[in-house]
Amino acid sequence: MKRTTPAIETWFELRGEHWVFKFSKHHSNPPRMAANACPYFMQDDEDEMVDDELISCLNCVYRRWNSQSFECVKLALLSHQRDSEA
């Protein structure tokens, strides 16, 4: 699948300083689609990966679990950098 710049808001919503995934961590399709559209995907340590498809936010080094789903710390870092430069 061609990887393009993501429409971040399709998958994540900004809550405070956290970019939180909009969908459940128990459904594999949304995280796979999000990761396929993301230029920042980087696979996590093999022992921390939980999706059978490699390219998935569930397998990304930048996802941080929360009780419902996960957040993306890479997007938070990029937002912080943009704010600092503005």
Partner: protein, 252 residues
């Protein structure tokens, strides 16, 4: 000769060496120093909650060392490596306990198990961890940052003691080779056990497969800790027993 349980937590950050890798290195340092033999490492998932700051995954890594060496020597080697290799933003903790002390004190063992199980669903504090460690013969120490990793390190000890928690770090090795990308292979349970450090092959419900069962293995073989054994979970796909997928193992 004693068996020691050694557990570390909260050593990593984004883009740094993971806690599992550091645990593996600590284990290798102990072997290199000729202190004894180490077991595979188990990864224990802890509670994910907004009140629990964690750097990467909030999982603890635990292994055993069979050694005649004193606790202080074991700890000093582990600490030296933890301090050198932990991420700057990390809050590393180390827990070390001698199993014979827990066998002599079933109440202490039960308390540690309870702490570990609770740490999977409750917020625990450093004070609770230190008080319990003092009561239960555990050497517990922090090595940077807030030191909150002592909570996970102690919880990891308790979870390993349950014998029912965690995945084995890394892949199963067959005849000394890690199964990173195993081509589809048919093997019996017996031959897998003979070629690996596994204790059993089990189905997804935890039932042991007979030795003559044929397995269809491919990709990465991942083991879990069950009944104090390292076991290979498999699932039935038609007539074939296949090694479990990542998603099937995510709750371990």
């Amino acid at each position: 000769m004693n068996t020691w349980l050694i557990c570390i937590d909260d050593t990593d950050d984004i883009d740094t060496k993971g806690t599992g890798e550091i645990a593996q290195e600590v284990a290798q340092k102990l072997v290199d120093a000729e202190l004894g033999l180490v077991s595979p490492i188990t990864r224990h998932q802890l509670y994910i909650h907004p009140d629990i700051p964690y750097t990467s995954h909030n999982s603890a890594m635990c292994f055993t060392l069979s050694s005649g060496s004193p606790c202080e020597l074991i700890r000093s080697i582990a600490i030296e490596h933890l301090v050198a290799e932990s991420a700057l933003a990390a809050d590393p903790g180390l827990a070390v306990v001698r199993l014979v002390d827990l066998e002599a004190s079933p109440l202490a063992k039960a308390k540690l198990i309870q702490f570990g199980l609770e740490a999977k669903r409750q917020v625990k504090t450093k004070q609770q961890a230190y008080e319990l460690a003092k009561d239960c013969h555990v050497s517990l120490s922090e090595h940077g940052g807030t030191g909150d990793g002592v909570i996970g390190a102690l919880a990891g000890i308790g979870l390993r003691l349950t014998g029912q928690d965690g995945r084995m770090k890394g892949q199963v090795t067959l005849n000394g080779t890690a199964t990173k990308n195993l081509a589809p292979t048919m093997l019996t349970v017996n031959s897998v056990l003979a070629a690996s450090n596994l204790d059993a092959v089990v189905d997804i419900d935890g039932q042991t497969l007979p030795p003559e069962s044929t397995l269809h293995l491919s990709g990465k073989l991942k083991a879990v800790f069950q009944n104090h054994q390292f076991v290979l979970p498999v699932y039935q796909n038609g007539q074939l027993w296949c090694n479990a997928t990542r998603s099937q193992l995510k709750n371990h």
